[in-house]
Amino acid sequence: MPSHLVLLILLLSPHTAAFSQNWSQVRGSAERQHEMVMMLIRNGDFGRVLETSRQIFSLKFPASQEHLLVQEGRILSEALAHHQQFQIAQGLLDQALRAVRSNPSKIDLFKEKAYLFTRQGRDKEAMEFFERAMELEKSSP
């Protein structure tokens, strides 16, 4: 078969199958990576948390699944805060912030940073991030 024809068939074939396969791979990687981060936290190996979590947040998530990254930010930062690792938890939320595109996701993560700062007793920073969330909330239609 001429290579042009193969290319044409590939181009015309439905993308949905490829997409869902791709998504299930991404989801699977995220799932495994999540367990690794949790294991590091469990073992008190906090120094390796951010390099491992970065691999979750650099995965290409479809826009429709972006809320999972927000949820992941919440869960991992909760686990880190439980171990008093606030600095790493904030760094992790920053990774999540760089990974998301939509304003609602950013708003949720700004609020999460504010919440974390409150738990650290850093009220000034907490208010700053809450204000950023509110500004974004007002400016996005």
Partner: protein
């Protein structure tokens, strides 16, 4: 372009320091975003106001008048000099008045919305505390679980709420 980036580059825009493509992006955002447009307009107003100020020139008679008023005042000093006047001269009056004015204005312009924001934040914090991420509490038989086993994997396929790890497949 997001609003923060837009606001950050507004002064550069007004100073004509942006490149053509940057200008274009910013102008497009301004046509679409009302809050940023309002910010731009108010900045533009103050720029124009400052421009007008530089046009005011003092004529030579003005300077002579001020000079003569200063030299006239000098001999008429009161016998008693208050400690404030001794320290700062009579300049402390406008300085104090200005400081007071700024304090009052900032109270109205900043404290109002600030207090409102504080209240909103408190409401959010209460909501956030209610937002349970953890799985249901362990049964007494299970004992105390480590938080990492207590928290869900959000990537799990069965994940359908804030209660479990969304990344896990079962």
């Amino acid at each position: 372009m997001d609003c923060q980036a837009c606001i950050d580059s507004l002064t550069a825009f007004l100073d004509d320091e942006l490149s053509a493509p940057e200008k274009e992006v910013l102008q497009t955002h301004l046509t679409q975003c009302r809050p940023c447009r309002q910010e731009h307009e108010s900045l533009l107003d103050s720029y124009q106001w400052v421009d007008q100020l530089t046009d005011l020139e003092m004529d030579s008679t003005g300077w002579t008048r001020i000079h003569s008023e200063i030299t006239h005042l000098a001999p008429g000093k009161p016998a008693w000099v208050s400690p404030f006047q001794f320290l700062f001269g009579s300049r402390w009056i406008p300085v104090a008045a200005g400081t007071l004015g700024v304090a009052i204005l900032s109270f109205f312009f900043l404290a109002g919305p600030k207090a409102e924001m504080q209240d909103e934040f408190q409401v959010y914090l209460e909501q956030r505390e209610q937002m349970v991420i953890r799985r249901p509490p362990p049964s007494p038989l299970e004992g105390i679980r480590e938080i990492t086993t207590d928290l869900p994997n959000p990537f799990t396929v069965s994940y359908d709420s804030s209660q479990s790890n969304p990344f896990t497949q079962e």
